[in-house]
């Protein structure tokens, strides 16, 4: 569980964080905080699906469900066998 959270956090920092000095945590708002926009959310969803070999239905991939690393982790857990 911790490992999954860290993997996702690291990916978000690597791919979406523009300000090198900005620090984000597991609870930092990603979508409502403007770090990941609605278009980029598609690539984040694709990463999760590829990394964890899952398929997240579009109706589950809401801005609210993607709004923090903790929330994303909860969502991914639903689909990981």
């Amino acid at each position: 569980m911790e490992e999954m959270k860290d993997v996702i956090l690291e990916y978000v920092i690597e791919e979406y964080l523009e300000d090198e000095d900005e620090e984000i945590t597991y609870d930092t708002p990603l979508i409502s905080g403007g770090i990941v926009d609605s278009f980029s959310m598609v690539s984040l969803k694709r990463f999760l699906e590829a990394k964890y070999k899952i398929s997240i239905p579009d109706e589950k991939a809401s801005p609210e469900a993607f709004d923090s690393v903790n929330k994303i982790t909860e969502l991914v857990k639903e689909f990981v066998g």
Binding site: E20, P29, S32, G33, G34, D37, F39, R46, A50, P63
Partner: protein, 568 residues
């Protein structure tokens, strides 16, 4: 009573001098948008009225009166002048929706320089192409975006100054970089606004076309005449309104109606500089008691998708008037907004080149959900035959939208591209590139684009630009990009690619390509879907037939394929 009153009466008695008189402008006078949006409002006795209520992440707030907007825009103007920036120099504003963007826009105009706002989510390649075309002298940006500027600085010799508005001193500045702090910079004494005239250049907004690089749409200070009156009559702003335009000033709505329109009327406006979520938007409306809300169909459809229950958690009774822009607003969204907010979103149609609203639904007018409405008074609009460019008189027949040139906010040219500018006019009409019908009551109904440009979330994306960037990816041999239908964004980018030898299709490759485009161009341009094909359909002369791929995506008839060389 709305400002416009009777639409029919306004049409009969219309002249743009109505706007000029209200603004106290006479032909030949000095005309500077920066002055009109701050100093003039102060001189009218509204110096202490709030001009801007800004909210950032975590609910952090900043407020500025019109006098503070006046002083701070003078500061920015004085600072730019101290660097030697002068009339007609291009100054790029590359920031999130922070106060420095809104106030800096006026500061640039006050010294007669040309404001070049660019969407801060642009990647370094998108940024470079636009700076290169304009030969921009200075860029005002934030620490978080300076990394993108550093990537292009070596190949941008014209870019003399990189101004960072939030430098914290933790890391050293690099070549050509300097800092500006709006709050602590000393107020300049005897700051003189450059006495620009009606036809002096003001704003350079970039827009995408089917082919070639993005075009710089040049506007002049006289655009104010259209922007002021359309704001007054369509957005119907009243003295005590609290206005919220959700558009980013990196795009034309964010400057025409997110800065110039409301501030030239002395109206208080709110800005929310965070990402989208239904609850945060509703909370913002409730907290600031927003009365007039100008938004976009993509946002409205996203709110619909979030459901009606979340609306019940907030008091949105302050809302009295709603309008929409960016792409056609579907009838369902109009009806839904009437049901849940008690007010329908009124659709408005215009584009970067027109500078101000052209076809709109007006307060008090009978709304036909899904229609773009009728021409703004003073605008002559028609539907043209696509071959003869003669007006079509037959009701309901599809044709190209045409406008008679001559309204104040019309673009004056494309920067360094007079040939393309002239190509937009046919038989005495300006063609915005959209197809429409007109019904028996004179309402316009959007049909679609007349070219391959992709309208995603209200923003235009050039398929050519994305295809070119895709070819720079090591795995891709050929590419074709088309619009794909999308429930929320109307259209999204879809790419068809062939791979170079040695590359295999897998999920990580797709993700890699998506991220490559997202960072290089922008999240808007990132293909939401990539389809791998053995070959792309081409004409015998080798040109990719994008039309066939588009038809396939939209379930349309593929039409004449006699020129097709390879149908795989």
């Amino acid at each position: 009573m709305s400002h416009i009153g009777s639409y029919e009466e306004r049409i009969k008695n219309f002249d743009w001098s109505i706007s000029e008189k209200e603004l106290g402008y006479k032909d030949g006078d000095v005309l500077n948008i920066g002055w009109y949006c701050s100093d003039r409002i102060c001189e009218m006795g509204k110096a202490d009225k709030l001009a801007l209520i800004w909210e950032g992440l975590g609910g952090v707030e900043k407020k500025y009166t019109f006098d503070e907007v006046r002083i701070n825009s003078n500061k920015i103007g004085a600072f730019l002048r101290s660097l030697g920036i002068k009339k007609e120099d291009r100054v790029c504003l590359f920031m999130d929706k922070i106060p420095e963007l809104y106030i800096g826009f006026l500061g640039v105009l006050k010294i007669g320089a040309i404001a070049q706002p660019l969407f801060s989510a642009f990647g370094d390649e998108s940024l470079h192409v636009r700076l290169d075309n304009a030969e921009t002298t200075a860029i005002i940006t934030q620490r978080k975006h300076v990394g993108k500027v550093r990537k292009l600085i070596e190949k941008s010799p014209y870019l003399k100054h990189v101004i960072i508005v939030d430098h914290d001193g933790k890391k050293p500045l690099k070549e050509r970089e300097l800092t500006f702090d709006m709050e602590t910079y000393k107020e300049p004494k005897d700051f003189e606004i450059l006495p620009t005239k009606a036809e002096s250049s003001s704003v350079l907004h970039y827009t995408s076309g089917t082919t070639g690089q993005p075009k710089g749409v040049k506007h002049v200070h006289y655009s104010l005449i259209s922007q002021y009156l359309t704001t007054k009559w369509v957005l119907d702003l009243q003295e005590d309104d609290i206005y919220w335009c959700t558009a980013d000033p990196g795009w034309v709505t964010g400057t025409s109606y997110g800065i110039i329109g409301p501030w030239s009327m002395g109206i208080t406006q709110c800005v929310l500089d965070t990402g989208f979520s239904a609850s945060s938007w509703y909370n913002f409306i409730q907290k600031h008691k927003i009365t007039m809300w100008y938004s976009a169909p993509t946002a409205i459809r996203s709110l619909m998708k979030a459901g009606d229950d979340v609306i019940k958690e907030y008091d949105l009774s302050s809302l009295r008037h709603l309008a929409s822009v960016g792409e056609p607003l579907n009838a369902e969204a109009v009806i839904w907004s009437g049901k849940v907010f008690g007010h329908e979103f009124l659709d408005t149609y215009w584009q970067t080149e027109t500078g101000s609203m052209m076809l709109t639904n007006f307060p008090g007018m009978k709304i036909k959900p899904g229609s773009m409405g009728k021409p703004f008074p003073g605008i002559t609009a028609t539907i043209l035959d696509s071959k003869t460019f003669e007006p079509i008189t037959e009701i309901g027949k599809i044709g190209l939208i045409g406008f008679k040139p001559g309204w104040p906010a019309m673009m004056r040219t494309y920067w360094n591209n007079e040939v393309t500018y002239k190509s937009k006019f046919k038989n005495g009409w300006y063609l915005p590139g959209d197809r429409s019908t007109i019904d028996k009551d004179g309402y316009f109904w959007f049909v679609g684009r007349d070219d391959d440009v992709i309208n995603t979330g209200g923003h235009l994306v050039s398929p050519f630009e994305v295809e070119s960037a895709l070819l720079e990816h090591e795995a891709i041999a050929e590419s074709a990009v088309v619009a794909k239908p999308d429930e929320v964004n109307m259209e999204v980018v879809k790419a068809f690619v062939t791979l170079n030898t040695g590359y295999k299709i897998d999920d990580m490759l797709e993700l890699n390509i998506m991220n490559f485009i997202r960072k290089k161009l922008s999240p808007l341009a990132m293909p939401q879907e990539i389809e791998y094909v053995k070959s792309l359909p081409k004409t015998r002369s080798g040109k990719i037939m994008r039309r066939l791929l588009h038809a396939k995506e939209w379930g349309e008839d593929i039409g004449d394929t006699s020129g097709l060389d390879d149908d795989e």
